[in-house]
């Protein structure tokens, strides 16, 4: 990922900043600037998600690209945030512990590093509540 692309996404990566449509009450993560339901009547505002949610489904990654190989085996899950938007993220727990329906909360972790001398990408992962 380029340094500039990462930098632009820091608010949503660090703080789960998404958006909300005031007209219909739907939440969007990643943020949308346009409500697909209300269309021109939609009024979009910024929203910081609480970071609590539950596991909808998951997979255990046992073989990965070089960048994430040191983390294997790790759990990647689709998480429904309590406001009602879904994110794909790593859940920091053992493959034996993870369950569908498990309550999770956000944590701040290193996501990846650009080699030995490049930028460190921080962001949000989840952990069992």
């Amino acid at each position: 990922m380029s340094v500039a692309r990462f930098w632009r996404k820091i608010p949503q990566r660090y703080n789960l900043i998404g958006t909300k449509c005031l007209t219909c009450g739907r939440y969007f993560y990643p943020p949308r600037t346009f409500c697909p339901l209300c269309r021109r009547d939609g009024k979009i505002v910024e929203h910081e998600f609480s970071g609590r949610g539950k596991v909808i489904t998951f997979t255990v990654i046992r073989s990965s690209s070089d960048q994430f190989e040191h983390l294997t085996p790790y759990v990647l899950a689709i998480i429904e945030l309590e406001e009602g938007s879904r994110v794909t993220a790593q859940v920091v727990t053992s493959p034996e512990e993870i369950k569908i329906g498990m309550q999770v909360k956000r944590i701040f972790r290193k996501i990846s590093t650009d080699g030995e001398s490049g930028v460190i990408h921080y962001g949000t992962k989840f952990t069992p509540l």
């Binding site: 820091i10 910081e48 040191h70 983390l71 944590i107 701040f108 290193k110 921080y122 992962k125």
Partner: protein
Amino acid sequence: MTGIMTYGVYIPRYRIKIEEITKVWGGNPDEIRNGLGVFEKSVPDLDEDAATIAVEAARNALMRRHLSPHEIGAVYVGSESHPYAVKPTACTVGEAISATPMMTAADYEFACKAGTAAIQTCMGLVKSGMIKYGLAIGSDVSQGAPSDALEYTAAAGGAAFFIGNDDPIAAIHHTCSYTTDTPDFWRREGQDYPRHGGRFTGEPGYFRHVQGAVNRIFQETGKSPKDYTYAVFHQPNAKFPQRVAKILGFSPEQIKPGLVVPHLGNTYSGSSMIGLAATLDIAKPGERIFVCSFGSGAGSDAFDIEVTDAIEGPDFKLSAGPSVQDLLKNPVYLEYALYAKHKGKIVMQR
């Protein structure tokens, strides 16, 4: 009245026991445990560093008390293991608590006392009216070279203190320091592991500076050990703080709640601050806490702290954030090989 608005701690979930380290490098685990008073130490997860620990500690503090991010005017992070040599950890923390961009920030480095130096800086900025709230953090994923004596204690953890003068949960009545140029412990630029002066680290380093700062603050405040309910000293092991407490006239009961090193290890910049946090976890209004940090190189910062009614008030909810004892519960123990991977001690083919 300037003091602590709220505080939070973070300790990684992993631990390694002394006997797991001696299995690899030899040595008698009983002798080492008795010599240091340390049984196990915390180990960071593969994706944790001083910045992620600092963020979690700051967020845990804000769970206990809501402070408007726009009123946080300064963020200082003390560490001897900042992830970057150039690029401040404090900016990452500021962003992660939404305090950016209207704030000042910098990283501090003063071995194990960089975090308490950050508290002093925030006190000055708050007292002068330059900022409303300042955030001072001590956070480390400290390194001991494999088979070095430091490997038994070099641990990971951090504590965050928000400083302000708007109904603090603990007033900081006074602080002062004692600093000299002493080569008791160091790490040169570009080196992975620190070096220390062996036996030289004790007397001219820790004991001279802690006693220097304590004697100075007692002179300036007219207080003595009997005026305090609790006392917290920097804890590179359990023996040094116990010995210095005895020399200065503090009792074992006074230092007990804040002596977290036996099951945590030395969290460097986090050490005396996590000790203070563990003490605040159980302290009641009106109780007085004495704190003295130590950083090699060398210096000590002493603090005269008094818990206020606000710790039981409506704006502060202690149980909303994890206590130090909560964070020490349910550890996952690692074997040496996995520990070495967690600490990046294995050199990989690149």
